[in-house]
């Protein structure tokens, strides 16, 4: 299957500033892909390159099987820019009509499609107001509606919840899930890790213009672990051939009993077994490395080895 996005060593230099060093990205059709990185990592530059808004200094890439920036491919992409601004003197409905025309939607299908995305973005009852009077959150919803017009094969969302309250963020998660169900690939550009963790099938973490980690979230975050705070554990229970070995490799860490990795479904059985051995269980901590931990490790870890600028 043609990948939604494929880039090889994509590079962008502005004067003496390396905005993007060498980006290798691969996004499958129909997946939600998280594009993560600290501010200034090159995320927005990468998105602009994919859309042809700026040209790469070096490297190459395809979007929906066409060279990056290609006009026919752009007809199948929905894009929410980081600085979402729409004509303040148009109503929300008129902005969407303009974008439907620019996207080349069949005239007969436009009205129904505009109603669909207005409802999806929660703007149906304010569609006839001028966008100049909209709050930032409303404008961002309008941008989302525009990005989803016409069921694009690829939706590129640059920080889609930066102006939204928690309710709005929840709505956006639902919208992204629905876009995936309708078959769109979604490139979600964000530094809100919780959001990415909840939504994305795979992620890439960029730092100083390079991908420093990428893959399925489960693989990146490592295997699930459980830690038990126990007292009165009989000696030998932690032995390699002891009664707990069947759950996984056992270790004692600062008074905590840790099994890593463990099948999360077996945690209740583990607790029952430990109690059965006569031990007292004070706490159970089903820990997994969070995306935030991983992110901080990667970003801090490479802070000392900045590429030459």
């Amino acid at each position: 299957m043609t990948p939604a996005i494929e880039t090889h060593a994509l590079r962008k230099v502005y004067g003496r500033t390396v905005a993007l060093d060498a980006l290798d990205l691969h996004v499958e059709p129909g997946e939600v892909f998280g594009f993560l990185g600290p501010n200034g990592a090159g995320k927005t530059t990468a998105v602009k390159l994919l859309l042809g808004l700026t040209r790469p200094t070096a490297g190459e890439g395809t979007v929906l099987g066409r060279p990056i920036g290609d006009r026919t491919a752009r007809g199948r992409i929905g894009y929410l820019p980081e600085l979402f601004r729409y004509q303040a003197w148009l109503t929300a409905h008129e902005v969407l009509r303009l974008h439907a025309a620019l996207a080349g939607l069949a005239p007969a299908a436009r009205a129904a499609e505009i109603e669909r995305v207005l409802t999806l973005a929660g703007l149906a009852d304010r569609a006839d107001e001028r966008t100049g009077g909209f709050s930032k959150g409303m404008q961002q919803r309008l941008g989302l509606a525009a990005a989803l017009l016409g069921d694009p094969a690829l939706v590129i969302l640059d920080e889609p919840t930066s102006a939204l309250d928690p309710v709005g963020r929840g709505d956006v998660r639902a919208i992204i899930r629905e876009a995936r169900e309708r078959g769109s690939a979604v490139l979600l550009n964000s530094h809100l890790l919780g959001e990415v963790e909840r939504l994305c099938d795979r992620v890439a973490i960029v730092h100083h213009g390079r991908v420093v980690a990428s893959g399925a979230l489960g693989d990146l975050l490592g295997e699930p672990t459980v830690r038990l705070r126990v007292t009165d554990l009989p000696g030998g229970a932690t032995a390699q051939d002891g009664p707990l070995a069947a759950f996984g490799p056992v270790a004692l860490e600062d008074g905590w009993l840790a099994i890593r990795p463990i099948d999360p479904d077996r945690i209740p059985d583990l607790v029952a077994t430990v109690v059965g051995l006569g031990a007292r269980v004070h706490a159970v901590d089903p820990a997994r490395r969070s995306l935030e931990d991983l992110f901080l490790d990667l970003v801090r870890g490479s802070a000392d080895e900045r590429p030459a600028r």
């Binding site: 502005y14 602009k48 859309l51 042809g52 808004l53 700026t54 040209r55 006009r71 026919t72 752009r74 007809g75 992409i77 894009y79 929410l80 820019p81 600085l83 979402f84 601004r85 729409y86 004509q87 003197w89 148009l90 303009l98 974008h99 025309a101 620019l102 996207a103 080349g104 941008g143 525009a146 590129i156």
Partner: protein
């Protein structure tokens, strides 16, 4: 080029000016100016006739007042054109409005062409409407009708289109303030070169005439203004000028003894095309 998209952008541009009340403010102001002109010319004519002036004197006087009014109007029109066109692309880039649009299958050239078409329609429409209205009102109150009003109005519109093209092209690369300011300065320079060139011819200063000719070719707005004057100048004034044979009169920026040569008009149209093309090329290479 995709004509459908060019027209969509042009329509959007026209709608922008009506929605942002620019068009209505301009029309309101010019209606007020035309009313004032009508009143003023009527007063002048009444007073002159009451004092027993010859009808020919009255008509010549009115024709010169009309040319002066046309000059002021052409100046206002050029300023309006510069300040409407300079931000047409520049401010869309500055605010980021253009990013969402250009991520669609819209060519940058189509965006610039659509903007140009919409601006030209608004500015030329405004020039034709206000110019025609002023000429009609003056005719009603004084009886004076310029010989070729359609020529005058056409040159007025062409001059405004030249100014807006320059401002739009500069704004495709520069911030809107800079594009507007540069356009106004160049327009002033063109006018200045026109006056200076006339003076140079009147006093036989060949090197100065050559220098100003170059500026008038590079910035054709003043040459187009001469077309407006020619369209408004009554033949009797031309005859009187020829009879008196005073060379210094050639230095008068409000006088034109001949229409701009066809080659100059052709060059002006080509100039608009070239400047617009340069703007499209510059915007095409711009990093957004």
């Amino acid at each position: 080029m995709t004509p459908r998209l060019v027209l969509a952008i042009a329509g959007l541009t026209v709608r922008e000016f009506t929605r942002r009340r620019v068009l209505w403010v301009l029309l309101g102001l010019s209606l007020a100016s035309v009313a004032l002109v009508g009143w003023g010319v009527e007063r002048l004519v009444s007073i002159a006739r009451a004092e027993g002036a010859e009808e020919l004197q009255v008509r010549i006087g009115v024709s010169q007042v009309l040319i002066l009014i046309a000059f002021m109007f052409s100046f206002v029109l050029a300023m309006s054109a510069a300040f409407l066109a300079a931000p047409a692309i520049a401010s869309d880039v500055e605010t980021g409005t253009v990013h969402a649009m250009l991520a669609r299958p819209l060519r940058r050239s189509d965006l610039v062409l659509g903007r140009w078409l919409g601006l030209s329609a608004v500015v030329a429409g405004y020039a034709v409407l206000s110019g025609a209205l002023a000429i009609i009102v003056v005719r009603l109150v004084s009886g004076h009708a310029p010989p070729e009003p359609q020529v005058a109005v056409a040159f007025l519109a062409l001059q405004a289109i030249a100014v807006l093209t320059l401002a739009l092209a500069l704004g495709s690369r520069l911030p809107s303030m800079a594009a507007g300011a540069i356009t106004v300065v160049l327009f002033g320079l063109g006018w200045f070169a026109g006056v200076l060139g006339s003076v140079a011819i009147a006093f036989d200063a060949a090197p100065l005439a050559a220098a100003t000719d170059i500026v008038r070719v590079l910035i054709p707005t003043d040459g187009l203004w001469r077309g407006v004057v020619y369209g408004l100048e009554p033949p009797v004034v031309l005859l009187l000028m020829e009879a008196s044979n005073v060379q210094a009169l050639q230095a008068n920026p409000f006088f034109a003894s001949a229409p701009p040569p066809a080659a100059f008009v052709a060059w002006s149209v080509a100039w608009v095309v070239l400047v617009l093309g340069a703007g499209i090329a510059a915007f095409g290479r711009r990093e957004l």
